[in-house]
């Protein structure tokens, strides 16, 4: 962490060259002059990801595996958004078994990602610890519960994917293999055993000491008529936007800011929020009754506008994902075939699903052999960049710009960690020319 310099408490420069407890690399530049913020820049400096260009010329079959490598924490999300887009171009209906099992696959990723973030990345902030290890010394049972939940998420993913990091089981049209019923039974047992710990996790997270920090922002999430939006839906905002996913780029515009290699995204020229808090804000009425009853006792109401409650939103979604996975696996039966055969054709199509961190939108243009002519991938973390900067300005001002530099730095980091930014995914370029020899 960089030093802070102070000039008569009127000009403070804080540099956090490497943010701790986030995925990937990001830094923050903050300059305060005369009790006002003069400059605030969140910079993302992972090497830019050329995935959109890598995909050009590739076959639709390869897209699923290549996009999964964009993120080691949410490969399922990338596979699902990509598969949806390609299947819409080929006009394929994957059917109820694949749709249900994809939701289970996704639940595994939500459980795994949220449990990791809650316990290892965010909780230390709220309990005065610098690292999960010292947190584990004081709260061993809570951390162990978190690790167990994370393992359960990975077990769910492995059911379909073969291995939990960069799972290989998904394909256009469905899955390569259907899980064996014995393996499903074994995971179901673990899911049932996790119901009580997951409810306890919601209570535990809701009881953490939160700063009072209320902000005004637009939430954006997928909404589905029959279920809490995870795998598919329409794009809904708390300001009344209600669009099909293929209208996404008519409303959400990406642009390049000079201080960051990641693109910024705006909805009708304004920042917006995606991710667990946005989802619970928009879809809380569709949570199972057990969760709603439990929530009532926590004293935290939804929709909410305190970003520090994101950890509670993640706990709620962890519990939801366990309940959903049980619901969908309870009557598991082997299908005739775990995938629907597809015929490549030319066209343009979009796919959109809720990665653990928020909506992940893919759009592909394929030729008549199913080769990629053009690809666009809009990850959740780049969509949140503008909101994070806006949040930081508000939160630090409310916290008190006359606070010691060290306290400002820690508060800024906590604010950023609320978003669980996955910075490795958040870099891509709009335009790049590549010459082939």
């Amino acid at each position: 962490m960089g030093p802070a310099t102070m000039n008569e408490k009127r000009h403070i420069r804080i540099r956090v060259p490497v943010l701790a407890r986030v995925e990937g690399e990001g830094s923050l530049k903050l300059e305060i002059r005369d009790a006002a913020i003069e400059k605030l820049q969140l910079s993302i400096f992972e090497p830019p990801r050329y995935f959109e260009k890598f995909l050009e010329g590739r076959s639709y079959n390869e897209v699923i595996d290549i996009t999964a490598r964009i993120c080691g924490i949410c490969p399922v999300a990338y596979q699902m958004s990509a598969a949806q887009a390609i299947e819409s171009i080929f006009e394929v209906d994957v059917g109820p078994w694949v749709t249900a099992m994809r939701r289970v696959f996704y639940c595994g990723e939500w459980i795994q990602s949220h449990a990791l973030h809650i316990h290892l990345l965010a909780a230390p902030d709220f309990l005065g610890h610098e690292h999960a290890i010292s947190l584990a010394q004081e709260y061993p049972e809570a951390v162990k519960r978190g690790l167990k939940l994370q393992g359960l998420g990975n077990d769910l993913i492995k059911l379909f994917g073969g291995r939990s990091v960069h799972p290989v089981g998904a394909r256009v049209g469905g899955f390569h293999h259907a899980p064996d019923p014995g393996a499903v039974d074994s995971v179901l047992e673990k899911l049932h055993a996790a119901l009580l710990p997951a409810a306890e996790l919601v209570n535990w997270s809701a009881g953490l000491p939160f700063p009072e920090d209320h902000q005004s922002f637009t939430s954006v999430a997928l909404q589905h008529p029959d279920e809490y939006g995870i795998y598919s839906g329409r794009v809904i905002s708390s300001d009344g936007l209600d669009i099909a996913i293929d209208e996404f780029d008519q409303h959400f515009v990406e642009s390049h800011q000079p201080h960051s290699t990641a693109l910024f995204s705006h909805l009708h020229d304004r920042p917006y929020l995606v991710g667990p808090l946005a989802r619970v804000n928009i879809n809380h009425r569709q949570l199972p009754q057990t969760i709603l009853n439990n929530l009532h006792d926590t004293g935290i109401s939804w929709p909410g506008n305190n970003m520090f409650h994101s950890i509670v939103a993640r706990a709620i979604e962890t519990q939801l994902a366990i309940i959903e996975a049980i619901r969908l696996l309870e009557d598991y039966a082997l299908p005739e075939q775990p995938y629907v055969p597809v015929q490549p054709r030319a066209g343009i199509g979009s796919g959109c699903s809720e990665a653990p961190r928020g909506i992940l939108w893919h759009r592909y243009e394929l030729d008549d052999r199913g080769l990629v002519r053009n690809a666009r991938i809009v990850p959740p973390t780049s969509q949140n960049q503008a909101r994070i900067e806006q949040d930081l300005g508000n939160a630090l001002t409310a916290f008190g710009l006359d606070q010691p530099a060290e306290a400002l730095r820690l508060h800024a980091e906590m604010v950023i960690r609320n978003y669980d930014p996955c910075i490795s995914c958040a870099t891509h370029f709009l335009q790049l020319s590549v010459s082939h020899h």
């Binding site: 999960a132 290890i133 990975n154």
Partner: protein
């Protein structure tokens, strides 16, 4: 029920691919009956979860300690746990093992074998054209494992 595992840490595509390639050779040689041979792409909570099913685990990981490339060294748990960087978010092997120790989650018997990576040619290597031959490493590893 299998109680023993050898876990190679590292991805096939990274600088630390020697761990992965050694596991591949061990599998081909079938020289470890009654022992599960597993890969773990990276250290972190998943490694701790993976070890839960076993009473005895041997971890194999690439290291950079300045020793001659391909040399092997057994590292004591306290030595590696003592190197945990608690100010960073990184959950490297040291942090993972220290977390496991703190939570009393480590297997009854844990041995950690470090294989010195060849730094000079790491960038030039790939899974198809590895910079370092895994076979002599596997031979030395076999001898080391026979001596508890």
């Amino acid at each position: 029920m299998i109680k023993k595992a050898i876990i190679g840490i590292g991805s096939p595509f990274g600088d630390d691919s020697i761990g992965w390639r050694v596991m591949e050779q061990l599998r081909k040689a079938s020289s470890q009956p009654g022992t599960d041979l597993l890969d773990c792409d990276r250290p972190g909570p998943q490694l701790l979860n993976l070890m839960q099913d076993y009473r005895e685990v041997i971890l194999i990981d690439a290291m950079q300690s300045g020793a001659p490339p391909a040399s092997l060294r057994e590292i004591k748990l306290d030595e590696i746990a003592g190197q945990a960087a608690l100010s960073s978010h990184a959950m490297g092997l040291a942090e993972t093992l220290l977390l496991g120790k703190t939570l009393d989650m480590l297997p009854e018997t844990l041995r950690i074998i470090g294989i010195e990576a060849d730094r000079r040619s790491i960038r030039a290597s790939s899974p198809d054209q590895p910079s370092m031959d895994a076979n002599p490493v596997v031979d030395t590893l076999g001898k080391l494992l026979k001596n508890p």
